[in-house]
Amino acid sequence: MTRLSSNWLAVYAIIYMIFLYAPVVLLPLFAFNDATIIALPLSGFTTAWFEQLWGNQTLRTAAINSLIVAISSAVIATLLGAFAARAAARYSFPGKTGIIGLIMLPLVLPEIIVAVALLVALSQLGLSLALWTVVVGHVLICTPFAVAILSSAFRGLDRELEEASFDLGESRWGTFRRVTFPLVLPGVISSLLICFTISLDEFIIAFFLTGTDVTLPVYIWSQLRFPARLPSVMALGTILLVLSILFLVLGEWMRRRAARRQGQDAAAGGAMTGVA
């Protein structure tokens, strides 16, 4: 009986994996396929689509826009997240649960609602759309992730460590520099990487809040209307996919390293489990 059910479980797991990853695998497959039409069978290997990307001026501008937005959002969200996480881990104040709840809320809010609400608010204020308005939107959705990641970093930071440093003659700033910062640094890097990734491939908010300067996902969407450009979109998607996976793995690795440094069980209270 046990054997049978575990066999079925294995089959279920494999089907589930195929369902999750097969479409994603198609992306690089067609990116290297030597044909303009996205269809099987594959006709041959080429890197032409990647070369075409390189020569595309609009795409390069979009990529640079995306980098600006993603880096700004990651830095601002991580900074805000650090303040919130520190406060949540160290101090108790009235309405703490409610305030932390409100900070985490954008995680579950439909992005389109956030996007439309921000658009309405911005136009009511008479502000014109630009890259910075996209940054505002991305900071809003990235901050909860930053708070979740940094909370685990700050919670693992024993208060007595900072007191010990102070007791040994170190100043407040020196204590931050020599004890607090080194211990939460992996968490900070993890937060930066994950926020960067989220912002880089975010579409809905970027679509609503961007002016004339498009980001990469918005550019990709605009290219879908031209069947001839589909293979190079596939190539671009492949690059984004590899970068995203790389950054997420790197981010989680940094977080676990931080937990290990602080002597915690690395698997417990993970950033992603904390969020889910």
């Binding site: 007191e163 010990a164 007791d167 040994l168 003659g169 100043s171 020196g174």
Partner: protein, 371 residues
């Protein structure tokens, strides 16, 4: 015991009050710790002993009253400017630094040369028996080793006072007992003032020159371990330190040699004048106390102590070197605990058997009713 005689006061607490919001953690503490003394703050959790230690360290500020260390008022002086160093309950070993970096952490601001630094760190590690562990990472250390590193890290600063916040509570029994002796011997040999916070009365008795017993933010008694055990100031102190048998009693009269006291089940006894605490009103006496080891099971018919009673053993606990008996008093439901050292020719008395128990008037302590 009198090593502190003639030395200067190191820590002077005067009417030190600490409030957290509406909660008063410390109600006006007056105490003086002498230079070179091993001083313990003993009490149950929540009695304010850790708060008092944190006030001395400078992590908290007193609501009112004053704290002087080595003659200097500590008002407005933060922890990093005080001549005190702390050994934390969690040891607070910096996890990202190795042993040498941990011990040298506080020296870094003193701008020593690399050689001087290494020598200081080496000497401190030698003191705590951890020489050669310089390059060990924090997570490779056992609980006892962490404790030693934390101590070395405090000692290397050459503080006037070392503060210890329940430093042994995380260790297992054997290691704890070993560390108690080592810590005391180390303190005696270097002569630095130690202030220890503990809830373990045995630990306080073993290690301290003097102990302040605290309940609910007040010092109930401050005395040497021997005085504390032999002459507890109140019923509460008596029951917190060791085991004490309490029996209802009344003073019935006075003679030239002492006080006549009627003790339930034990009868009338004359207590010598010198055993009666000063300031105790005779009419207030409600109870007497007697320690388990002051009661003796009489195993042969040899002339024993002046006083004795016949009781019945209702239970015993065998500890190897000692046996603790519960003995029901004559004409009463009440039991007393008796401790007897086991000897080669002495059998353990089984429950149900009668025993004769001897005691002396000198070992009787008087208590008044407390609320």
């Amino acid at each position: 015991m009198n090593e502190t005689n003639g030395s200067a006061p190191m820590i002077e607490l005067e009417k030190t009050v600490k409030r957290f919001g509406t909660f008063t953690a410390l109600h006006g503490i007056d105490a003086t710790v002498q230079e070179g003394e091993f001083f313990s703050l003993l009490g149950p959790s929540g009695c304010g002993k850790t708060t008092l230690l944190r006030l001395i360290a400078g992590f908290e500020n007193p609501t009112s009253g004053s704290i002087r260390i080595a003659g200097h008022d500590m008002r407005g002086i933060p922890a990093n400017k005080r001549p005190t160093n702390m050994v934390f309950q969690s040891y607070a070993i910096f996890p990202h630094l190795n042993v040498a970096q941990n011990v040298g952490y506080g020296l870094k601001r003193r701008h020593l040369s690399r050689r001087e630094m290494a020598r200081e760190v080496g000497e401190a590690l030698e003191m705590v028996d951890m020489a050669g562990y310089e390059r060990r990472a924090a997570h490779e250390l056992s609980g006892g080793q962490r404790q030693r590193v934390a101590l070395a890290r405090a000692l290397v600063m050459r503080p006037k006072v070392v503060l210890l916040d329940e430093p042994l509570s995380a260790l297992d029994k054997k290691l704890r007992e070993q560390m108690q002796r080592e810590l005391r011997d180390l303190q005696r040999s270097i002569g630095i003032t130690f202030v220890l916070v503990t809830h373990d009365q045995e630990e306080a008795l073993i290690m301290s020159d003097r102990i302040a017993v605290m309940f609910e933010g007040r010092i109930a008694q401050m005395a040497t371990p021997e005085e504390l055990y032999r002459r507890p100031a109140s019923r509460r102190v008596a029951s917190f330190i060791g085991v004490m048998n309490f029996l209802p009693a009344r003073a019935t009269g006075e003679t030239q040699t002492g006080l006549v006291v009627q003790i339930e089940s034990l009868g009338e006894v004359v207590l010598p004048s010198h055993t009666i605490p000063a300031g105790l009103r005779v009419d207030d006496i409600r109870e007497v106390g007697i320690r388990p080891e002051m009661l003796t099971v009489i195993f042969d018919d040899a002339p024993g102590p002046r006083h004795s009673f016949e009781g019945q053993v209702s239970g015993n606990s065998y500890y190897g070197d000692m046996t603790y008996y519960d003995v029901v008093l004559p004409g009463s439901e009440r039991t007393v605990t008796i401790s007897m050292r086991n000897t080669a020719n002495r059998a353990v008395v089984r429950p149900g058997n009668p025993v004769r128990v001897g005691w002396s008037a000198e070992s009787i302590l008087l208590f008044r009713q407390e609320d």
